[in-house]
């Protein structure tokens, strides 16, 4: 073996420079969580598609007023909350604590509004007799209720957790305990929950508009 080959084996340090993947662990962790959570939602949405295609005469009970109007309003509220979130993250990186907290609170209020309107939707459907195990529109398709409450319920759980998460971040950032990086990571979660709704809204609501 020549000297240069020997050197090649014993001495080619990668000189300890910056890691090629120098991404903050917290941010990376949140991205990885989002990947796995999106697979959970995908599995549920694909299951929904599967049972819907298997069922003849899947019910399409939603009227433009009030169901679609309400769910459109919910979509609008949630999308607006993503805007305030972006502004919040931006303010956080500009070091403006007051502004950041204000935008985060706006985001939280939008989240609460979303859950509140959604809850009235649930109450309406339950009042019409839709339950996870039965469906007055078409008794042969009892899974209408199961998929509706399952999908929107898991999403609502995510929004609720997000509201609590943002409240903690807003409180901590206002006190100076957290950095802009924390706000950004919570923003990733919030946008993801928003994005999931952009799949649920058309698949659960718009595909089930009453054709009459």
């Amino acid at each position: 073996m020549s000297d240069t080959e020997f050197e090649g084996i014993v001495a080619s340090p990668w000189s300890g420079g910056a890691s090629p993947f120098a991404i903050n662990s917290k941010k990376l962790g949140m991205w990885l969580f989002i990947i796995s959570d999106s697979l959970t939602f995908s599995a549920l949405l694909i299951s929904y598609a599967y049972v819907r295609l298997e069922t003849p005469n899947w019910p399409r009970p939603f009227e433009i007023w009030p169901a679609i109007a309400k769910s459109s309003l919910m979509t609008f509220v949630l999308l607006s909350s993503s805007l305030t979130m972006v502004l919040g993250v931006n303010a956080a990186f500009n070091g403006d604590r007051k502004k950041t907290v204000r935008y985060l609170i706006a985001t939280i209020l939008c989240g609460i509004a979303f859950v509140a309107i959604h809850a009235t939707e649930w109450v309406t459907l339950l009042g019409e007799g839709v339950t996870p195990w039965s469906n007055p529109f078409n008794p042969a398709a009892p899974l209408f209720g199961g998929t509706f409450f399952g999908l929107t319920g898991l999403h609502m759980l995510h929004v609720t957790i997000g509201v609590a998460y943002l409240a903690i971040i807003a409180w901590g950032f206002g006190k100076g305990k957290y950095t802009a990086e924390h706000v950004e990571v919570s923003g990733l979660y919030w946008h993801f929950v928003d994005l999931v709704w952009m799949f649920i809204f058309p698949m659960v609501y718009l595909l089930s508009v009453n054709p009459k």
Binding site: M1, I9, P13, G17, G29, A43, V51, E54, A141, L143
Partner: protein
């Protein structure tokens, strides 16, 4: 020294001060080494239970009418046999094959082998373990609830698992606990996988490029990616199954189902949906069990053959390829569930294509051994055993990958023999190799070599005696999950083969006492281990045995070369560790 310096600017936790109280130090510890040992002990408990369950099954298959003291009514019922099948499979797959190699050794050694002071998220790590522990408590509780353990197999096939008590004993509380346990396990594994990936990407020491990572790290890293993508889907399936059982939905239960003469109040669902969701997780799960073992085998073979791993890059890429293909073959578990021949063909071709990276690994293991100065220490024997079992079990996979052949063999013992060899016993051999190899580092003492060798030969010969004849029973038509084949005319003449396997199983099971004795005796009385007893090259051998709280005692290693520089021509020693500065490397005189 802050840990910022060695991770190239990414913010990480500074190593935490060693806690003083017993509870913070050993119970709710955030130290990845303590958590690794906790996972290992959990798996050790689970494997003892799993082995006892399998021995009870083997006993029942040969002496179905024997009176057993602990069974109510004296004789084991067919449902109780099915409960044994279910619990043996569930405990072994989830709490042994997933927990020991990844949760146990991965947790302990991944951070050390990449030169990190801890995992990226130490508290999350602690949470993962305790949620896993809770899952284990749930599954064990299924034994003692009214009705006993569930009977629907480790795959929890619907509609059996979705209907409740009407479909059999154990399908009430037992099955609910099973679902809760598996869902918790999914959650814990997701968090663990996330932690492993972030740690591997973010916390490597200077010089530890991806192509300098030990193959063990590659194994754990790719396994974590599989876990991240697979467990979330099973979690979704678990939620739906739980809704079917407790909220009255019918995701997995079709209309018009009559069970025990009663029409079930369900309609609209499809049992196939569960199979798709389950196997989309279930097939990657097979690789979650075996990939860490492949990493350990490569690592140990190289160390004790005193040769670099043959084709290191190909080995790393093969691990990635196996992981990638593992997501596209779930349909081969469902050939007999009814499937378009075109889908069957696609799944069949994809399944067989996994043979290519598997063969790359096998031939590279052989290439690593070729011309080496082989030292037959116990870890080496188990690594060689791993290769042998992986090949023997893998070859039958090529037959099962053909839909036409699988239609004949799917419900027989042939499949049982196949997966026990290739993912069960092979993975267990990987765990044993890892235990004998790293015991000195983990506990600061050496294990006993002669006892280890006795343990190896009994286990190796025993495993073949149990599972090789099983192939022939399967080809002869022996149907799996039958509690008493002697009552079936055309199977009765196979009973002597069953007897042979049962005796082999009892001897092999008893031989594990050599291991348990060796393990606990060496903990206390083994000779003290030096820093680097095997003259190995990777970073875990650069620190004390056992390592201090921050892994390297205040200094952080830099990495100057690949992980397997053994017998380098021109060097003074037959190994050049990764951490040795170039100026310190001895030249041959």
């Amino acid at each position: 020294m802050s840990s910022h310096a060695h991770t190239g600017g990414s913010t990480v936790h500074a190593p935490m001060a060693e806690p003083s109280g017993f509870i913070r130090k050993y119970i709710f510890s955030v130290d990845h080494k303590v958590i690794g040992i906790q996972y290992f002990l959990l798996a050790l408990t689970a494997v003892v239970i799993g082995i006892v369950l399998s021995l009870l099954m083997r006993f029942h298959l040969v002496w179905p009418n024997a009176t057993l003291p602990f069974v109510s009514g004296g004789q084991m019922s067919q449902e109780q046999y099915l409960a044994l099948v279910t619990m043996h499979g569930t405990i072994m797959v989830f709490f042994v094959l997933t927990t020991a190699p990844q949760g146990g050794f991965g947790n302990y050694f991944l951070p050390i082998q990449i030169g990190a002071p801890d995992m990226a998220f130490p508290r999350l790590n602690m949470l993962s373990f305790w949620v896993t522990f809770l899952a284990f408590v749930c599954i064990i509780a299924a034994f003692v609830v009214p009705g006993g353990a569930p009977i629907s197999g480790w795959t929890g096939y619907t509609p059996l698992s979705g209907l409740g008590e009407i479909s059999g004993p154990g399908e009430g509380w037992g099955q609910t606990l099973w679902i809760v346990s598996i869902s918790l396990f999914c959650l814990a594994s997701l968090l663990g996988a996330l932690n492993f990936i972030a740690t591997t990407i973010d916390l490597r020491a200077p010089g530890m490029s991806l192509m300098r990572m030990p193959l063990t790290v590659w194994g754990w890293f790719v396994t974590a990616i599989l876990g991240l993508l697979a467990f979330g889907v099973l979690l979704a399936g678990g939620i739906l199954l739980l809704l079917d059982r407790s909220a009255g939905t019918s995701f997995f239960i079709p209309a018009g189902l009559v069970v025990n003469d009663q029409l079930q109040p369900h309609s609209g669902g499809s049992p196939l949906l569960w199979q798709h969701l389950f196997w989309f997780f279930g097939h990657p799960e097979v690789y979650i069990a075996i990939l860490p073992g492949m990493g350990v085998a490569s690592h140990v073979l190289s160390t004790f053959a005193r040769k670099p791993v043959y084709g290191y890059r190909a080995m790393a890429y093969a691990i990635c390829a196996i992981g990638f293909l593992g997501f596209m073959v779930w349909g081969h578990h469902m050939f007999v569930s009814g499937m378009s021949p075109y889908s069957g063909f696609a799944f069949s071709v994809l399944t067989m294509s996994i043979g290519v990276p598997s063969a790359i690994k096998t031939f590279n293991w052989l290439g690593t051994l070729w011309g080496g100065k082989i030292q037959f220490k116990t870890p080496m024997l188990f690594a060689l055993g791993f290769v042998s079992l992986f090949v023997s079990g893998g070859l039958s996979g090529l037959f099962l990958a053909q839909p036409a052949v699988d239609n004949m063999l799917h419900a027989t013992y042939y499949v049982v023999a196949h997966f026990h060899l290739v993912m069960g016993v092979a993975a267990i051999f990987g765990i044993f190799a890892a235990t004998y190899f790293w015991f000195p580092k983990m506990f600061g003492r050496m294990m006993n070599e002669p006892l280890g060798k006795i343990h190896f030969w009994f286990t190796f010969v025993g495993a073949y005696c149990i599972f090789m004849p099983m192939h022939f029973i399967g080809i002869a038509g022996g149907i799996r999950r039958y509690a008493d084949a002697s009552a079936v005319g055309f199977l009765a003449h196979l009973q002597p083969v069953h007897q042979f396997m049962t005796i082999a199983a009892f001897i092999t099971g008893a031989a594990q006492l050599f291991f348990l004795f060796n393990f606990f005796y060496s903990l206390k009385f083994g000779p003290k281990a030096s820093k680097n007893p095997w003259n190995a090259t990777t970073l875990e051998w650069d620190t004390d045995s056992p390592p201090p709280m921050d892994n390297f005692g205040g200094h952080y290693p830099s990495v100057y070369r690949g992980p397997y520089e053994f017998s380098v021509p021109g060097a003074g020693d037959d190994f050049i560790p990764q951490w040795l500065e170039p100026s310190q490397v001895a030249r041959a005189k």
